[in-house]
Symmetry: C2
Subunit: 266 residues, 2 copies
């Protein structure tokens, strides 16, 4: 009997936090999304969330992504990791309160990177949780790195790695825009949304996609999309939807037609 | 070059929480202990804390320790794990605020038990943190179990496992009593404290030690002491002190003479 294939849901940091603030959680959005995830009522779900105004400003202040270079970064690493657990705690609180069988998995407790890429991943806990019908919840985190000492592991790299590792049947990415645009829709009125992208088209977008407006140490929309390539290559379809639009995440999880960008191998 | 030998510090749940309440953190004690740990100024430190009125009441309500038997326990597992991360978050907040280079490690993200005993432990993150001069902080947690589905992993089992794994130079256990007594000092005025116990004497205490008064799913003082045997067997000395007494933990960490019970192999 083959293992059931999970769905991987990513909730962007810009959805559940105000990226222009610092440690500014959007608790209303967190609660709405927890309710939507409960209502979607799907089993075999893995959730990953971003850092938004929790992880990014601290990580940037101490240049955590670049690796260990000097002593003051040490407490910066502790702070970056800690604020991410605080944001995760707010999300977990709401998920459990909404009866989602959610269990947090701390990436830095089971993953070590090398030059920023996942090298070691003790996946037995995630696998075990899925098998027992739980919903593992992971997040972008400050992690140890075999070459750099430490670095930042983005939620997007995690999404792709989890999808490939557990042969996901699909990825749903909830961002604060309707989908992927040919330029930044926050800056350009004429920005056009892609409804469908193939892997070839995705690769051609290199350099074309606008960077996100507010700070994001893990590389804006371009970096996010590029991270998805390994999953798309393995024929795992990716649907990018607007998580700030009520019911978009719920409907996408249920496989309904939702406005957004679909990315498929061909 | 041999690895430096760490000290393992356990802070009992009854010290940092009010065990007669529910989700009742003693934030004053947490802050005082974080300051003491900062002042002790020792490198190569691993901290483990208990669950107190966070983990224990929820774990007991849903019988998490006994393993998975029925559906309502599922959300109970999620709750038990979640409330432990909340207590850990309060402790981490204070440690980082006091400039202790503390990084939390989530036991359930890297440990799987079998019939309640640690079976798999991905220790690379703890090892890496120690090597880089960080202070890993672990805690009693609701974990997956290869036989029971899930169970409760006590902070005490963790302390012993970490001490043995990393060949600790010593263990300091901070509880809410002056040391180990021949009967419960909270109930009996004539209770006598042991200043020194050998492994042989410790083994003879089976059945003699009083259970702690308030609820503790992981087995009261008797269970706690028994867990230490593997470490003591490996000639790792254990000092049990009163963590509610100002400066006792700080002085014990610095190797000063402090009132309490010393346990050694011979």
């Amino acid at each position: 009997m083959s293992e059931p294939r999970p769905t991987v849901l990513k909730i962007g940091g810009s959805v559940i936090t105000d990226k222009k603030g610092e440690l500014a959680a959007r608790t209303y959005e967190i609660n709405r999304l927890a309710e939507e995830i409960h209502n979607a009522n799907i089993t075999n779900l893995i959730i990953v969330h971003g850092g938004g105004s929790f992880g990014h400003p601290v990580a940037e202040k101490y240049k955590i992504k670049e690796g260990y270079k000097e002593e003051p970064q040490r407490i910066g690493f502790c702070e970056t990791h800690h604020v991410m657990t605080v944001l995760n705690g707010l999300f977990m609180d709401s998920l459990v309160w909404h009866s989602v069988p959610a269990v947090s998995i701390m990436p830095s407790s089971c993953i070590i990177t090398e030059n920023g890429r996942i090298k070691q991943f003790e996946d037995a806990p995630v696998k075990g949780l899925l098998k027992m019908g739980f919903t593992p919840v992971l997040y972008g985190d400050a992690v140890l790195d075999a070459k750099l000492g430490f670095t930042v592991l983005s939620g997007d790299q995690l999404v792709s790695a989890l999808a490939v590792k557990f042969n996901a049947k699909g990825i749903v990415i909830g961002i604060d825009e309707d989908g992927v645009f040919d330029s930044d829709p926050k800056l350009e009125e004429t920005a056009r949304m892609y409804e469908h992208l193939t892997l070839e088209e995705l690769r051609k977008l290199h350099g074309k996609l606008g960077k996100t407006v507010a700070c994001d140490v893990t590389g804006g929309m371009f970096g996010k999309i590029t991270e998805l390539i390994p999953a798309v290559e393995q024929r795992i379809p990716v649907k990018i939807v607007n998580a700030t639009a009520p019911r978009a995440v719920c409907r996408a999880l249920q496989g309904e037609k939702v406005k957004g960008t679909m990315i498929e191998k061909e």
